[in-house]
């Protein structure tokens, strides 16, 4: 049986070449660069290949149910707002099974950072379509190809006035690290959509496919301008903009709430944790 403190010693369950490795590495670098106190960090996830990441990092871990990372993270943040609560989970988990929670976590603008590994497929369950799969994407379940329109998480986040909305990709690790740092620094809810190649189940959106398309937002993009942000969020095709798309002006839930804005709730209990 393995000890809990040396999480990074654990063998991963990812395929060789998986985009998740780059995301894990970028996260480690981002946390080190920011000098994050790992004991005050909680990595939260649901179920999926992406959702296993917390087990491979040095952090407290809440690896909950499929689709339910957001309510769990919200509960942790409400209980102890001094913790850095960071979700790393898949597109199926966050946009599919957990879609309703996403809407409402963004409405609350709770200070949780959501890093979504968006490989446009269900990896763990072996290759079914996800809410972000391209129309026409053929799988063993979607035998005639996906008919439904892809879900656009970024546009939704912009319309809800979320504090921080950004996109990056596992294929541009340095950019990804910067975006992670920006997301962690932002107050309120942060949504970072991370385009991630799945080498086993997504033969359409490959490393090359993403590399050919991702393009940094122009220098003059104003993330405080909602119309510009929405236009960037709606751009998907030969060019896919990456960078900080939007910075909303709403206060964080924990700052606006009459009770939460006081001392962390957990302080009410005098017992000192080990």
């Amino acid at each position: 049986m393995s000890g809990a403190n040396e999480n990074s010693a654990i063998e991963t369950a990812w395929c060789p070449g998986c985009g998740n490795f780059h995301i894990l590495e970028a996260l480690e670098h981002a946390l080190d660069t920011l000098g994050t106190d790992r004991r005050r960090l909680v990595l939260v996830s649901g179920i999926g290949q992406a959702a296993k990441l917390p087990h491979y990092a040095k952090a407290n871990v809440f690896n909950g149910l499929h689709g339910r990372a957001l309510p769990a993270a919200t509960g942790i943040k409400m209980a102890n707002k001094k913790l850095l609560v960071l979700i790393t989970s898949g597109d199926g988990d966050m946009y599919g099974e957990g879609g309703n929670h996403l809407v409402h976590a963004m409405r609350r603008n709770i200070g949780v950072k959501a890093f979504v590994h968006n490989n446009q497929v269900y990896g763990l369950t072996k290759g079914q379509a996800s809410p972000t799969s391209e129309p026409g994407f053929v799988t063993k379940v979607q035998v005639d190809g996906v008919l439904s329109a892809p879900f656009n998480p970024l546009a939704l986040a912009v319309t809800l006035g979320v504090s921080f909305v950004a996109r990056s990709s596992a294929v541009i690790p340095d950019h990804l690290q910067t975006m992670m740092q920006e997301a962690i620094r932002a107050k309120g809810f942060a949504l970072l959509d991370i385009l991630q190649p799945c080498v086993t189940f997504n033969k359409v959106n490959t490393y090359k496919w993403y590399r050919d398309r991702v393009k940094e937002l122009p220098k003059n993009h104003d993330p405080r301008d909602r119309d510009q942000a929405l236009a960037a969020a709606m751009t998907w095709g030969d060019e896919i903009p990456v960078g900080v798309i939007y910075r909303g002006a709403r206060p964080a839930f924990e700052d606006a709430h009459p009770i939460l804005s006081g001392a962390p709730l957990v302080n009410a209990f005098t017992q000192t944790p080990p």
Partner: protein, 555 residues
Amino acid sequence: MTTNIRICGAAGQGVQSFGDLLARTFASMGLHVFATQSYLSRIRGGINSYDVRIGSEELFSSARKTDLLVALNRESMEQEKANLALNGVMILNTAESGGNYLALQMDKLAQAAGGTARMANSAGAGAVVSVLGYDLDALHKCLTEEFSKKGRDIVEQNLDAASRGYRAVAGHEGLVRAPKPAGAPSTLYDGSTAIAIGAATAGVKIVFSYPMTPSSGVLTALAGLSHKYGMVVEQAEDEIAAPNLLCGAAFAGVPAMTTTSGGGFALMAEGLSLAGMLELPIVIFLSMRPGPATGMPTRTAQGDLAFAAHAGHGEFPKIILAPGDLRQAFDLTRHAFELAHKFQTPVILVADQFLTDLQKNIPALPDAPDYINLHLAKKSAPGKAYERYLVTDNGVSPRAVPGGDSYVVSASDMHAEGGHLSEDFNVQIALQDKRMRKITGILNEFIKPEIYPEPAGEILLCWGSTYGPCRAAVNLLRARGRDVCMVHFPMVWPLDGAALAPLFEGRRVIAVEGNGTGQFALLLRQAGALREFSLLPRYDGLPFTAEFIETEVLS
């Protein structure tokens, strides 16, 4: 001596505020009050009713018949007059006299007092106290308290309306026999408030619920107390989110609860199982109403016990508490948090529309914060890595929370002692055995059923809110010479069959349950505690009364 006053009228006519005013007035006089409401699942129209039963001794059940019926419209009088007692009296809110009722134009009396039609309740209440032979003092005092914030004029108008109502039935003073005040406690509580105070004083800091009748009373009461006790009361996006959020809060070291009814509870099943797997102390308040599906939203039932006992996939320890009266609702709510934290497992507190809406005057509940023990781990041994799921003899592992010296790792997938994923069969067995060993400890703390008044040849077996009606029924039946007692269970899961079997041996058992199958009796039978029983069910949506039970037992 007891008297039952029933207010009835269309939804939106103020039946509830009328009933509340009477209940408060009688309690302040030192009468024992037992008040229940019957309302429809709509905001306007239909007939609602409110029973205020008063007595010179503590009351445990509502009455079947009405001694004094106050009808706010003719339609409700026509419907309710069948339930009038032999010497019963009716007051009708009408200008037309000459029927077999006392005519009282409540809104006109209020207007004559310079007030608005909304003060009609005060006029009506004045008439009620007169017909019962009481004076106006207590009613006047209650009205003064209620309206003092709204200014002198409003107070004066209400007092005058009450006096006018009182005088309007002159000549009928004491027409309905009523009990003498008997020094009963002056504070009225309803079940929802008792539960909310229990939770708040126990240290709940996060309440996360999606509204659903009849659980919303507790949610509303908690929201009302949120500033006093420093609680975050947040409306959930759905009932799937609720237990997951509670798990997060508990993981981070804060007691949290959710409130729901059957349909919402069904959506919580996966999260309940998560709490079992992550070994987190969460408390779910389940207020029952008749099902299946959305069933009868505003009515009462005890139909979700079997579901609650078996809810959640996989096998994990779970505790179900079912308070029988208002004091127990307070105590068991606190106890739910104690047990959840001691055994690091979910607790379901079950009640129903009857108990949550029930109002009674009881000795004041202690409302100062008195936090339960969170049973958090002491400092871990130096040099040794902290393991959240350490295998122990009693199955309970030291629980740390994030933010301290140790990393806390919890996973929904099968995990080893350290919390990280494992697919090792031996680890699976070891960890499942560890979790299930907690049941032994829980059974050691099983709350013994109450036997009232003493063991007898025949047992009325009941659980949860049926306590009062069963207890009162036992008194009625014993007065007829029947050798019968009540056995009431406030804790209904888990069950130790061998320990409970002697209770029932050689006795005739009648299971009194608000469902059609005898769910608790069947759980006892499954546990090996009970072999034969006969069933006295009620599943029409209405609460048991002592007289209903008496009639059924005798028939």
